[in-house]
């Protein structure tokens, strides 16, 4: 039995589990003490001191996020002393902040702005404690992320997620005192360090200090140009996350509204990356089959996640030959967008402009990889995050929640449940095994049920062979799994890695704020689509079957090898 502790919060006597923080205890009586550095998925930091509350007997101010409850404690969250202290710390942060909310990317979704409003802090309050302001150059060279340290409030969430969850540590505190700054080694552009571009830093940033490098204007220009034929693909997870930007519950599935909104924005064709995910399964599945038959190196490791691929290039160059040569669904789609699509539609390849709506900031990097282009053109012209798409929809005044559902366009818009679950952890493995097992044995696969754990394992009987599967989401978990493989503690045949916690539903380009709780709901939303799908196996996707029949031939054949497969290169560890 868990021990309980009795205490008082604002005169209410409550009982909470021993070891709870005052913040948790307050939450249980309906009081959300304001927080900035605190994040439920990260270690306790206790730095912003915005969550201080008063302990009545000692008169001490305690950081509620970090202070554990004690039996008999009397906490006052609303005393003048506590209120003043919280306000003062926010004022001190604002005194060293640009406060140019109107021009800030986070206007309306900024946690500092919300707290300032909730606490009723005025311009005069801030001026009273104003003085020197730190100034930093903006890291705008991209391609994935943009850092504006002038807006950084040094809450350390990005540092913690990069170190604790991702195991990358691309960002750290440097300097001391007032000159403290969160930056990369030697203050280099994020592009030039061991950053995986996963964007988890951006996803937890409470203010506008780290964002995706925006490509919105580029896309508007393409849409404006009548000579350009703009086709768009939407990644599997977007349909389960975009709704949050419009006030819907996490996990709400908005596929039809999303398609309708994209039509209203002026895209010529609305396609689905899920279609390309099915295609990926056929290519990668065939590759895996060959490896199972002894051609190539096991374990087979997935390569659809560009954050993971770059991380592997930095840290696991010895394992690069295990990575699937299959491109990510986005890049497969784009390569076909400039070959197969023109062939089928009659639009000239040179006029096709491919836009990808992605949950991901690393995709912005991926599209620029030198070796990735299979056509004479740049295969993917622009990548927009979920957040960027929402911004475009908002700018146009499209009443998203009122839109009637519409369908994807034909040719590259149909997908199976297997393609859809690419957007959540374990989905790629599940989709691959569904196809591989059926192709080899003719028997269907029972559910793998890999769930939402950071690392998980499953075994599947395929014919007379037991295929061992492992998945990891979050680069820190990937490291654990791969180190175990290196040590020989984990004998696997198939490893799925997603750079972001919970997979693409937890991607760095998804709506903010994002917590584990929300990510699980998003993943559940995607699984729901799969559950309801009539066709749930990639090799049964009629449009994929047509594609092979009319254009590619066989998986891993000459044409598909040329268009749909790629190579990797070793990168320095730091």
């Amino acid at each position: 039995m868990e021990n309980k502790v009795k205490l008082q919060i604002d005169k209410q006597t409550i009982e909470v589990s021993e070891g709870s923080t005052i913040l948790d205890a307050a939450k249980s009586v309906g009081i959300d003490v304001p927080v900035l550095c605190y994040h439920p998925d990260l270690s306790l930091h206790g730095a912003c001191r915005v969550c201080v509350v008063e302990e009545e007997e000692s008169g001490e101010l305690l950081a509620s996020c970090a202070a554990p409850v004690n039996a008999g404690m009397k906490i006052n969250t609303r005393s003048i002393k506590a209120r003043k202290a919280r306000r003062r710390n926010v004022e001190l942060l604002l005194a060293n902040h640009p406060n140019d909310c109107l021009g800030c990317n986070r206007n309306g979704s900024c946690e500092l702005q919300d707290i300032t409003y909730d606490l009723g802090i005025t311009k005069e309050d801030i001026e009273r404690v104003s003085g020197a302001v730190r100034e930093h150059e903006i890291d705008d060279v991209g391609p994935a992320l943009r850092r504006d340290l002038n807006k950084c409030i040094l809450c350390g969430r990005c540092v913690r997620i990069c170190e604790e969850v991702q195991g990358v540590s691309a960002l750290q505190f440097t300097q001391r005192g007032f000159n403290s700054v969160v930056t990369t080694a030697f203050d280099m552009p994020q592009r030039d360090v061991n950053c995986a571009n996963c964007g988890q830093c951006a996803s937890v940033c409470p203010v506008g200090a780290i964002n995706e490098k925006s490509e919105i204007e580029k896309v508007w220009s393409a849409l404006e140009d009548d000579d350009i034929h703009v086709i768009v693909q939407t990644a599997p997870s977007i349909q389960a996350t975009l709704g949050e930007e419009f006030g819907m519950r996490a996990g709400s599935v908005v596929t039809g509204k999303m398609v309708a909104a994209l039509r209203r924005l002026g895209f010529d064709k609305i396609f689905s990356t899920d279609f390309a995910a099915d295609l990926t399964i056929l290519e990668e599945g065939s590759e895996f089959l060959k490896k199972l038959e002894g051609e190539g190196t096991l374990p087979h490791i997935t390569s659809c996640c560009p954050g993971w691929v770059k991380y592997a290039e930095h840290n696991y160059s010895d394992l690069l030959n295990h990575l699937s040569s299959a491109k990510s669904p986005m890049q497969m789609f784009s390569a076909l967008g400039k070959t197969y699509y023109p062939q089928q539609s009659g639009v000239k390849a040179k006029d096709v402009y491919t836009v990808a709506i992605m949950p991901c900031t690393a995709k912005k990097f991926e599209k620029n990889r030198e070796e990735i282009n299979a056509t004479r053109f740049k295969d993917t012209d622009a990548v927009l995050t979920t957040r960027e798409l929402a911004r475009m929809i908002k700018e146009m005044g499209i009443n998203f929640s009122k839109l009637a559902d519409e369908d994807f366009d034909e040719l590259m818009g149909t997908s199976t449940g297997a393609g859809t679950i690419f957007g959540t952890t374990g989905g790629v493995a599940e989709a691959a095994v569904r196809t591989v097992k059926e192709k080899l044995t003719g028997e269907p696969l029972e559910q793998l049920n890999l769930g939402f754990r950071g690392v998980n394992f499953a075994e599947v009987e395929i014919g007379d062979r037991t295929v061992k599967i492992a998945i990891a989401n979050g680069l820190g978990n990937a490291e654990k799994l791969l180190e175990a493989c290196r040590e020989g503690d984990c004998e696997c045949d198939f490893i799925e890695v997603m750079a972001c916690p919970h997979g693409c539903v937890g991607g760095g380009g998804q709506p903010r704020p994002a917590t584990k709780e929300k990510k699980i709901k998003r993943g559940t939303g995607l699984s729901g689509i799969d559950d309801k799908s009539v066709v749930r196996k990639s090799h049964k996707n009629p449009q994929v079957i047509k594609l092979y029949k009319e254009f590619l031939g066989e998986p891993m054949s000459g044409e598909s090898h040329h268009l749909l497969h790629t190579t990797y290169k070793s990168r320095p560890k730091n």
Partner: protein, 600 residues
């Protein structure tokens, strides 16, 4: 055993202070001279640790007479050998002269600076060769550890510590026995002991002197602590800027290992103990225990919220007991002499002695160890020999850069943890800076805050942003740009930073400002309301100088001495001072042969 019996021992202090004033050369010269006179078989030279009177270094004591020579340099060696060592005549000119009485004192114990001290933790410093484990053992070293490991149960040791009343000497003043008890009570397969030797207070050097002068004493204290709490591994976290301390500690560890005093099954007790040195890079905040542990773990030295306290979850998540160097230095004494012997010294709430780094505008500066309860007046006027140049006492700051300043009416305050806290300052690690009438208290507060502000780790908002704002306000006040309401804002920010900062650095950083506002508010008001610095220390508030044209004879002497070229004119003509350039240093005034220059 065939040991040479020497007729004289010459103790040459080779602590960092004396080394920097030439002790190494002094020793070499002395060796040569003794060899030349064929006396090296009769006179033994011993390198010792610090005597605490570094200002008077290099220091040399000659036994058996116990004659104390100060400010000895190479040129004096011949005379010392010829007169003292050969003819038995004291070299009077090298004796210490009491600043108040001008009396020359030949013997160490009779000098006021030492007479009023009671040395427990510093007892071996300056008296034994710190690089000789045999000398440490000869003066009773490792007896306490032997007693603890072979005759006492761990709980008995903790009880003895509790009874002794020893409190943490690093500044917090937390009861040491209780701290050990917490670490003992936490069950774990692995525990650590850490010695905090990240001495960061400007001017404080007791930890360095202890490590340099008596490294085995610290090892012994740590060993007893480890046995008591159930640890088998320990770290001494010492600043890399203390190379001599590190070298001596390394030597001491090596010797202790060779003697079986470190390692496995010590004293056949089944107790194992391994000791490491971790060099810190000198960040002030690494003296904070959680930041220190982060630093040992290879992370950035940033404090973490407590609880969990180190005794529950410390180094690498294991129960850890951290004490300061001076705290450990007291442990062997307590175990050997008993709790009562220790608790009989000092006051009821603060037992034992405390080492202070006495400095500032006084005659005798250095390390002093006095019983708790000694008054500020005794330390400053009796041990410290009163104020330099007979200036008037204005304030004393205790507790390092984040301590408070106390004015004259507090001189009779007995020094202990609680009375200092009540008076608005703190014990800290034992810094004590004396200020005279020429010290501007606003400027003093600014100086200390500038230090803590730039040493803030930058983690928590109040310390990072708040101290910067306070410093900006102090800067403008000392520049004559103070505004109405600035004092109140300083008080408000100071209270705020103290009550909401994450660690001890922020919680105490405003002390110098708040205490000077309490005791010297008028000085702040003079700066703000009248752009006047009563102490005449704030450069920007001093009025510039002018030359009376009718008196000037055009000699140009003033222009020659002006460091900023503010004075121009033609020889035999009339010179003038550019008031925008003049820094009011006053260099020109005394050189004018006709007294034509005055402050405008």
């Amino acid at each position: 055993m065939n040991e040479t019996i020497y007729r004289s021992h010459v103790l040459v202090c080779t602590g960092t202070g004396c080394v920097s004033s030439g002790a190494k050369d002094l020793k070499t010269t002395l060796e040569k001279e003794l060899t030349a006179k064929d006396m090296s078989g009769e006179v033994k030279i011993v390198e010792t640790g610090c005597h605490g009177f570094c200002e008077k270094g290099p220091i040399m004591i000659i036994y058996p007479e116990g004659v104390f020579y100060c400010e000895v340099n190479e040129k004096d060696v011949k005379e010392i050998v010829d007169e003292h060592l050969l003819k038995g005549r004291t070299v009077e000119r090298l004796l210490f002269k009491e600043p108040m009485t001008e009396e020359q004192i030949p013997s160490y114990q009779d000098i006021d600076f030492y007479k009023k001290q009671q040395r427990i933790s510093l007892k071996n410093c300056g008296h034994i060769d710190p690089e000789s484990i045999d000398e440490y053992i000869a003066v009773g070293g490792y007896e306490a550890a032997g007693k603890a490991l072979t005759l006492m149960e761990p709980q008995e040791i903790i009880d003895e510590l509790k009874e002794s009343g020893l409190r943490g000497r690093g500044g917090g003043g937390f009861p040491t026995g209780l701290k050990w008890q917490f670490a003992r009570n936490t069950e774990s397969d692995k525990k650590y002991v850490i010695c905090n030797a990240d001495e960061g207070d400007p001017g404080a050097f007791m930890d360095r002197s202890l490590l340099e002068g008596d490294p085995h004493g610290i090892i012994e204290g740590m060993m007893i602590a480890a046995y008591a709490i159930g640890a088998d591994e320990a770290y001494v976290y010492v600043r890399a800027e203390y190379p001599l301390a590190i070298t001596r500690l390394e030597k001491a560890i090596q010797d202790a290992e060779e003697y079986g005093l470190l390692g496995e099954n010590i004293f056949d007790s089944g107790f194992n103990f391994k000791l490491h040195i971790k060099e810190g890079a000198g960040a002030f905040v690494c003296g904070e225990e959680t930041a220190l542990m982060n630093s040992i773990e290879g992370k950035r030295g940033m404090p973490k919220p407590r609880p969990p306290y180190p005794s529950v979850s410390g180094l690498w998540g294991k129960p850890t007991n951290i004490n300061n160097v001076e705290t450990f230095a007291n442990v062997p004494y307590i175990i050997k002499e008993g709790a009562e012997a220790f608790s009989s010294i000092g006051t009821e709430s603060s037992a034992g002695t405390k080492v202070f780094a006495l400095t500032g505008k006084i005659n005798n500066t250095g390390l002093v160890e006095v019983p708790m309860g000694t008054t500020l007046r005794e330390v400053i006027f009796e041990i410290g020999g009163g104020l330099d140049k007979n200036k008037k006492f204005k304030a004393v700051q205790t507790g390092g850069p984040s301590g408070g300043c106390l004015p004259e009416e507090y001189l009779n305050l007995p020094i202990d943890y609680d009375s200092l806290l009540d008076a608005g300052t703190m014990m800290g690690s034992g810094g004590m800076v004396v200020m005279d009438e020429d010290s501007c208290m606003v400027d003093v507060a600014r100086f200390f805050l500038n230090f803590t502000q730039s040493e803030s780790c930058g983690k928590c908002t109040p310390c990072r942003e708040g101290t910067k704002r306070m410093l900006e306000i102090l800067n403008r006040i000392t520049e004559g740009e103070g505004r109405e309401g600035d004092i109140e804002l300083l008080e408000e920010l100071g209270d705020h930073i103290k009550s909401t900062s994450l660690c001890g650095l922020g919680k105490s950083a405003p002390n110098p400002v708040l205490s000077t506002i309490t005791h010297f508010r008028k000085e702040y008001e003079a700066h703000i309301n009248h752009q006047n610095c009563p102490a005449g220390a704030c450069q920007d508030l001093l009025s510039t100088y002018v030359i009376a044209a009718e008196d000037c004879i055009g000699c140009g002497k003033c222009a020659k001495v002006c460091p900023v070229d503010a004075i121009s004119g033609e020889i035999k003509g009339v010179f003038a001072i550019d008031e925008d350039v003049c820094i009011a240093c006053g260099a020109c005034e005394p050189v004018c042969p006709v007294d034509a220059i005055s402050q405008g």
